[in-house]
Structure formats: structure tokens, C-alpha cells
Amino acid sequence: MNTVTYHIPNISCHHCVHTIQSELSEVPGVKSVEADVATKTAKIVFDAPADETVIKKVLAEINYPAAD
């Protein structure tokens, strides 16, 4: 079980949180997603087959790229 926290500058409202949560939850292997408007962060818990590359790719696709 891995946990990553990304800073996602594009988060601006609760809808963004909802979008990130619903899109990432569809990625196989992702166990939980908690995004937060105030801190503009998302905490993702995942297992194989998901990995950071896949997650970052999805985030970029939905226009919420993770900041490095």
C-alpha cells in the first residue's frame, strides 16, 4: 500500500475535488483519494497495478496536473 500527496495548483473549488476523486477512483489499484480545496492537495492511496506515473498521467489528462 502506497500513499502519495500531490500539490495540485489547479484545484479551485469543490467540483475540482469531486472530479479528481471520481476520475482517480476509476484507476485500477487506487484505493482512496482525498483532495482538499484549502491546501490544494490530493492524498492518494494505491496498490499495484496503479503507480505514480499512471496517476500523474490521469491528473494531467483531466487538467489537474500535479506540481513537482
Binding site: 489547479n10 479551485s12 473549488c13 467540483h15 475540482c16 469531486h18 472530479t19 471520481s22 482512496s32 483531466i62 487538467n63 489537474y64
Partner: protein, 808 residues
């Protein structure tokens, strides 16, 4: 074929440019959508799709799944007359055919048609036109005019009374004359004069064609639309008796005239209709009561003066003065003064509620004692009262699934009855052994038995069975602070086998509270320790810290600003207050030796046994106190669980908390089934698991956090939403915080369902027994008409009993 269709949808809830991208992406994921363009500023989505692959519903569902809404319009129309349920079903299906119409609810009792539609696709005048084209006429009302229904009702009663009076004026002499002749009470020269039959015909004609005209019109409309309703039966039945009598009166045929039968059928059914119209008025009494609560005037501060304005002119942000004993005109927030307010009319709670600066107050509630200055926050359609009225009205117009049986039967009922009537005629005319002296006797017997079959059959009792009960049931609920949003919810709640409670916020208050303060060092007393700890925790956002602050505040201890404050995540806090160095933490962080803590192990064990969280207080390096903090159980929880179990329901509790805390609470209040350590997202799955075991699940939760579980349950019950009834995503909303409302809601639902079943049983049974009786000649057509009229009145009266039925 690659036909595409374009629709423009009004999207709500978009706040940023990201939203636009999200919705477009989601829409394009729908199979069949070719293009999707969303505009943030106009809040429109233009979608092109292939109607063979997808439809409006799936597109809308996708937008909603993405977390946004589609703005829908709500039109309400009042029909001038409704005919019966078959007519209304026909109207509803005609309307539903239209693009952009999402839902249609019709109500036989209130004559109301509610249409949910997408305003960018269709407008109210299109709807109006379609209603007229379907053979209905509308009462022209302003949409806002909530008295329209009452006027419509009053007019209906007046009109029925008028027809009834005219009917009686002609029918009573006709009946007396006819009976007197049949019993040989009239002189021979009158009884058998050639004009006696003609006189009877003259008396019957106004009844047949003036009082009974409505039935001809109704029958014509129904037949033109290829359906058949009650009007057809009455028109056929009375016409058969009437027209058969004409050649006899004119001396062309031999035999007995049946003018009095024709007139009696129409007049008796009018008696029934009149009684029914009056009784139906009572079914919407609860709503009328709510509507009548609306305040008329408000004292508003304008240009520095207090002036009286009609409540419609109060704007958000206005400063309103409310004197003792007055109604609060709109929803608002108290900005000056304090008082107690009677909110019983909205919540069903009889105890007045304290209000001080910052409290929310609601329109139509009554300020009991002090003077209040209120800033208006919600006016007009947005007030809690207006929302409650709207929800109840919508619920009253909705159909319970059980009504489908009645709808299916009544759709084929009338044609079948006509068929039975024809068979009756043929059998009596051709087959029954000919022992009558003359041909005319045989003909009249056959006709009269056919007429009896036609008029005894009563589809209207079936049509009224469900909606009247739903109306009275939901209305009664509203009076008790129980908002049942649909007939379906009512039915499901009545059938529930398991009630699942969410723990936090539903069974417990959801706010941890300091339950025990154990002082371990005589240097300082309890209040001093709490004062210091409360001061240190002042800035804390942790629920345990807040509990300590709350306890200190409750004891009116003055809190001071800490000189230093530091929160250590997962451990506790430390800092300096009033020259003391304080640590408030769990065992790991409190920096007290194990051996010292060990002395108090039995106390600690005891507290932990009770599922309380133990917090240690270190002041200047010494252990000074132990706090036990726990969520407290709501007052009526135990009683509620006991009552539910007595009603034969299984009671379960679901919580994210650990097994220990959960079982302590469950044991305390008698809950048998506990699902602990369930993550918020998994609550719905747990509900589903229960459903798969065959349980009909009622889920009780706070309506916001538990929304998925409430939605998964057969019936979701949101509790304590206060007066913010619209946001709670549950089909049943309990306005009061009091958990025992759950018992009342289930009881009310069961009673209503029971009433519906009684009504349906009565309506079906009545037809099944009496149609054969009429066919076999055991029922005089006049008696049949009386019996038919009575059946509807019985059904409505039975539903009205729900107003008074005890629920405690």
C-alpha cells in the same frame, strides 16, 4: 442513418473554468454524443448526439454524475375537471412524449398537474397547448397563486351542489310519482292516463341532459381518445334506461317506463360526487394549514424608520423588527435581542427554542417573549415554509408504486364492464327461459339488468384509493415535522424490515463532550485545571480540544490567551498559560512515567471500557488530571430503538468508529446489529449487502455525509436537517433533531400503506361482488347507483381517518 440531434441544456453549479472542461469531458464519454460545448458564463451546454445511441436522460445523468445539475423548470397547472384516473394517465403520457418534459405528476384529488421540464427545450405555453389538445381545460392561474387550488375546489363543490339541487328538484317528484303508481296509491285515471308516462319523461329530461350533460361530454372525450372511463358507463347506463322509455311513453312500445331509474342514477351519482368533492377538500387540509401560516406583513427598517410592508416586499438583507407575540415574517438571522421562538408549526416540536444573536429564525414561527432584530436571509419561495409547502405538494401529487395495480386494472376495467353488460343483456334476452307473458317484459328485464351492471361498476373508487391516502398521510407527516417527499417513499417506509442508523450525529450528538474530570493532584481544583486547559486549547481545531474548551465555557470559566501553543499531530498539545507549562495529550505524549500512570490503571481501564477517550493533563511536569471524552447519546435513542423493535423491525447501527466504541453504544441503547469500522464510502455497500439478504432497508443519517448510503437504502431518512429541507438528499426528511421521529415516520407510513390496501381491497371486492349480483338481477339499478356513489365516499372517508389516527 447518422441523424444527430442538438439540445441546449442549462447547467447549474459551475464555478470555474475547470468545471467547463470536466463537463465537456464527461459528456463526450457518453456513447453517442458527438460534440459537447459548455459555456461558463451563459451556463449552457450544447450537446449533439445520435438519438439512436443515447438519449437525453443518459446525458443528464452524466452531467449529474460529474457533480453538476441541470436546471429544470417546474410548471403547475390546475385542470378544470379531471375525469378519472384513466384520463389523467392519458394526459401524462401525452405530455411525456414531448421533448424536454422530464416528469409529469397528476393528481386526481387536487386536479393538479405538475410538470418538470427543461426550460431551454420547451416552455410553459407549449405545455399548455398540449394539455388543451389532449382534451382538458385549465384554470387560468398565476403560478404563484397558491390559493388557486382552494378556489378550484370551492368552485367544484359549488358546481356539484348546483347540479345536485337541480337533479333533486326533478328527481324527487318523479321518484315519488313513480313509486306511488307502482304501489297503486294513485287514482286509476291518473296512474294509467296516457300523459302519466309523458309527464315522467318531461321530469327526467332536464336531469338526463342538463345535470347529466357532463357525463356525455366526458364520455365523448374519452372515446375520442380511445379510452373509456366512468363517464362512459354512466352515460351508457342512464341513456339505455332513458331512451328505452321514450317509445313506451309515446305508446309505440308496450311496457313499463324507466325514466325514474335514469334520473335516479344521475342524481344519486351526483350526491356521491358532491360528498366526494367535499371530503376531498379535507385531504389537503394540512397543506392549507401550512399555506395559511404565511405571515402577511413585516416591520422593516427603511431609511432609518420602521415601516410596515407586505411580506412579499421584504428583500434579502432587510432589517426586520419582530415584537413579542408576533410572527417572524421571513427566514433570517438574529442581529439584536434574544427571545424564545415557537417553531412548532414547522418542526412539530412543541418546546419553544431559545434565540440569541447569530441564531437562525424562520418565517411563520412565533416570537414569544423578547424583541428581536432580524436580518432577512431568505424570502419568498426560498423560505423554509415555502420549501416545505412545495415538497409536500409535490409528494401529494406523486404516485405510490402500489397504485400501478389500480391503474392497470382501471385501464381495462370499463371496456370489460361494457362487455359484461352486453353479455348480461344477451343472456336475459335470448337464453333465459321465456316464462314472461310478453316480449316487452323480456326486453325491459334485459335492459334494466344491463343498466344495473353498467352503473354498479365503479372505477373511481379504485382511482381514489391511493392518492387520497397519500395526500392525507403526507399532510399529517408535515404537521409532525416529517416530510415525506413521495408516495413511493411512503410505501417503502411502510414496508421496511430493517432500520439502519448512522452512529455519529444520528444516535450520538456527534460532538465529543468531556464526561469525566478526574483530579489527581490536590494542588489545583477541577475548575482551575479546566480553565488552564481550556485556555490552552482555545486555538485548537481538534474535536477533543474543542470538547475541553466547550466544557470550560459551559462552566463559565474565563479563558485567557496562551503565551505559547503548539499542536503535535496525533499526540496532543503543549504550551504555556498563565505561567504554567501544560501538556494535554494521550499516553504517548504526556511525558509522565509509566509507573505513575500505572497507579490509576483501574480508573483508566474503566473509562476505556466505556469507550471513552482518555486524555492526560501534565502541568509543570506533574500529572494533574485525567479527562474522559466521549460522544454523548441523544436523549430518545434508547426509547426509539425499543419502539422500533416492538414494531417488529430489526435495528442496526453503522459507523466508522472502532468495534469497541460501537458495541458500547449499541449495548447501551439495545441495538442488536453493529457494523463498525466501515469507511464512509463503504456504508452504501453495507446497506446493499443487507438488501441482498432480502431486507428492505430504511437508512437514517444526517443527509449530507451519509448521502450515498441514504440513496442506496430502499428509503433514506435524513434526520435533524433543521429547516434546510431541500438540501437533504433523502426521500424522507425529519425536521426535528429528535430521533424518535423515526418511529412516528415508520408508523405513519405503515398506517398509510394499510389504508391504501384497505381502500384497494374495498374497491376491488366491491366490484367483484356487486357486478355479478347486478348481472343476475339481484340489484335494482337505482340501488346500484347509490352503492356506487357510496363506494367512492367510503374510500375518501377511510383515507381521512389518517388525519386523526394515533401514532404514539
Amino acid at each position: 442513418m447518422t441523424d444527430t440531434k442538438q439540445v441546449v441544456l442549462p447547467v447549474t453549479g459551475m464555478t470555474c473554468a475547470n468545471c467547463v472542461a470536466t463537463i465537456e469531458r464527461n459528456l463526450k464519454k457518453v456513447n453517442g454524443v458527438t460534440t459537447a460545448n459548455v459555456n461558463l458564463s451563459s451556463e449552457r451546454a450544447v450537446v449533439e448526439f445520435n438519438p439512436q445511441l443515447t438519449d437525453l436522460k443518459s446525458i443528464m445523468a452524466r452531467v449529474e454524475k460529474a457533480g453538476y445539475g441541470i436546471a429544470t423548470g417546474q410548471a403547475e397547472f390546475y385542470l378544470r375537471d379531471t375525469g378519472d384516473q384513466t384520463d389523467l394517465n392519458r394526459l401524462a403520457s401525452k405530455l411525456k412524449e414531448m421533448d424536454g418534459v422530464l416528469d409529469v405528476q397528476t393528481n386526481l384529488v387536487t386536479h393538479r398537474v405538475d410538470i418538470k421540464y427543461i426550460p431551454t427545450l420547451i416552455n410553459q405555453s407549449d405545455l399548455r397547448t398540449r394539455i388543451y389538445k389532449s382534451g382538458f381545460s385549465l384554470l387560468e392561474t398565476k403560478v404563484e397563486d397558491e390559493d388557486a387550488e382552494q378556489h378550484a375546489r370551492q368552485r367544484e363543490i359549488q358546481q356539484q351542489l348546483h347540479y345536485l339541487m337541480v337533479g333533486l328538484i326533478f328527481t324527487v317528484p318523479l321518484f315519488i310519482f313513480s313509486m306511488a303508481r307502482d304501489f297503486n296509491l294513485l287514482p286509476h285515471q291518473i296512474a294509467h292516463s296516457s300523459w302519466a308516462n309523458i309527464l315522467m319523461g318531461l321530469l327526467a329530461s332536464p336531469v338526463q341532459f342538463y345535470v347529466g350533460w357532463q357525463y356525455y361530454v366526458g364520455a365523448y372525450k374519452a372515446i375520442r381518445n380511445r379510452s373509456a372511463n366512468m363517464d362512459v358507463l354512466i352515460a351508457l347506463g342512464s341513456s339505455a334506461a332513458y331512451f328505452y322509455s321514450i317509445p313506451i311513453a309515446l305508446g309505440i312500445l308496450e311496457g313499463h317506463v324507466y325514466f325514474e331509474t335514469a334520473a335516479m342514477i344521475i342524481t344519486l351519482i351526483k350526491v356521491g360526487k358532491y360528498l366526494e368533492a367535499r371530503a376531498k377538500g379535507h385531504t389537503s387540509e394540512a397543506i392549507k394549514k401550512l399555506v395559511s401560516l404565511r405571515p402577511k406583513n413585516a416591520h422593516v427598517l427603511r431609511d432609518g424608520n420602521e415601516i410596515d410592508v407586505p411580506v412579499d416586499e421584504v428583500r434579502v438583507g432587510d432589517i426586520i423588527f419582530v415584537h413579542p407575540g408576533e410572527k417572524i415574517p421571513v427566514d433570517g438571522i438574529v442581529i439584536e435581542g434574544h427571545s424564545t421562538v415557537d417553531e412548532a408549526m414547522l418542526t412539530g416540536e412543541s418546546m419553544p427554542v431559545d434565540k440569541a444573536i447569530g441564531s437562525n429564525v424562520f418565517g411563520a414561527t412565533i416570537n414569544k417573549m423578547g424583541f428581536l432584530k432580524v436580518e432577512a436571509t431568505k424570502v419568498g419561495k426560498d423560505t423554509a415554509l415555502a420549501q416545505i409547502i412545495r415538497l409536500v405538494e409535490e409528494a401529494q401529487g406523486s404516485k405510490a408504486p402500489i397504485q400501478k395495480i389500480a391503474d392497470q386494472v382501471s385501464a381495462v376495467f370499463v371496456p370489460i364492464v361494457i362487455l359484461i353488460a352486453l353479455i348480461t343483456f344477451l343472456i336475459w334476452f335470448f337464453i333465459v327461459p321465456n316464462f314472461h307473458p310478453g316480449m316487452s317484459e323480456i326486453l325491459s328485464t334485459a335492459i334494466i339488468r344491463m343498466v344495473a351492471v353498467l352503473v354498479i361498476a365503479c372505477p373511481c373508487a379504485m382511482g381514489l384509493a391511493t392518492p387520497t391516502a397519500v395526500m392525507v398521510g403526507t399532510g399529517r407527516g408535515a404537521e409532525l415535522g416529517i416530510l415525506i417527499k413521495s408516495g413511493e417513499a411512503l410505501e417503502r417506509a411502510g414496508k421496511a424490515t430493517t432500520i439502519v442508523f448512522d452512529k455519529t450525529g444520528t444516535i450520538t450528538k456527534g460532538q465529543p463532550k468531556v464526561t469525566d474530570v478526574i483530579v489527581l493532584n490536590p494542588e489545583m481544583d477541577e475548575n482551575r485545571i479546566l480553565q488552564l486547559c481550556g485556555s490552552l486549547e482555545k486555538g485548537s481545531e481538534h474535536p477533543l480540544g474543542e470538547a475541553i474548551v466547550a466544557e470550560a465555557t459551559e462552566r463559565s470559566l474565563s479563558l485567557i490567551n496562551p503565551d505559547r501553543f503548539n499542536a503535535i499531530a496525533g499526540v496532543g498539545v503543549e504550551g504555556e498559560v498563565d505561567g504554567f507549562y501544560i501538556i494535554i495529550a494521550n499516553r504517548l505524549g504526556v511525558q509522565i512515567s509509566d509507573s505513575e500512570i500505572h497507579q490509576y490503571q483501574s480508573i483508566i481501564d474503566q473509562l476505556e471500557q466505556e469507550a471513552k477517550t482518555v486524555v492526560y493533563v501534565n502541568i509543570n511536569g506533574k500529572l494533574h488530571a485525567i479527562f474522559a471524552i466521549a460522544d454523548t447519546i441523544k436523549p430518545n435513542a434508547e426509547k426509539t430503538v425499543t419502539e422500533l423493535k416492538k414494531m417488529g423491525l430489526k435495528v442496526a447501527m453503522i459507523t466508522g468508529d472502532n468495534q469497541k466504541v460501537a458495541s458500547v453504544i449499541a449495548n447501551k441503547i439495545g441495538i442488536d446489529f453493529v457494523f463498525a469500522e466501515i469507511l464512509p464510502g463503504e456504508k452504501a455497500a453495507q446497506v446493499k449487502a443487507l438488501q441482498e439478504k432480502g431486507e428492505i432497508v430504511g437508512m437514517v443519517g444526517d443527509g449530507v455525509n451519509d448521502a450515498p448510503a441514504l440513496a442506496q437504502a430502499d428509503v433514506g431518512i435524513a434526520i435533524g436537517s433543521g429547516t434546510d429541507v431541500a438540501i437533504a438528499a433523502a426521500p424522507i426528511v425529519l425536521i426535528r433533531e429528535d430521533i424518535s421521529s423515526v418511529v412516528t415516520a415508520i408508523r405513519l407510513s405503515r398506517k398509510t400503506l394499510q389504508t391504501i390496501k384497505q381502500n384497494l381491497f374495498w374497491a376491488f371486492f366491491y366490484n367483484i361482488i356487486l357486478i355479478p349480483a347486478a348481472a343476475l338481477g339481484y340489484l335494482n339499478p337505482m340501488l346500484a347507483a347509490g352503492a356506487m356513489a357510496f363506494s367512492s365516499v367510503f374510500v375518501v372517508s377511510n383515507s381521512l381517518r389518517l388525519r386523526k389516527i394515533p401514532l404514539n
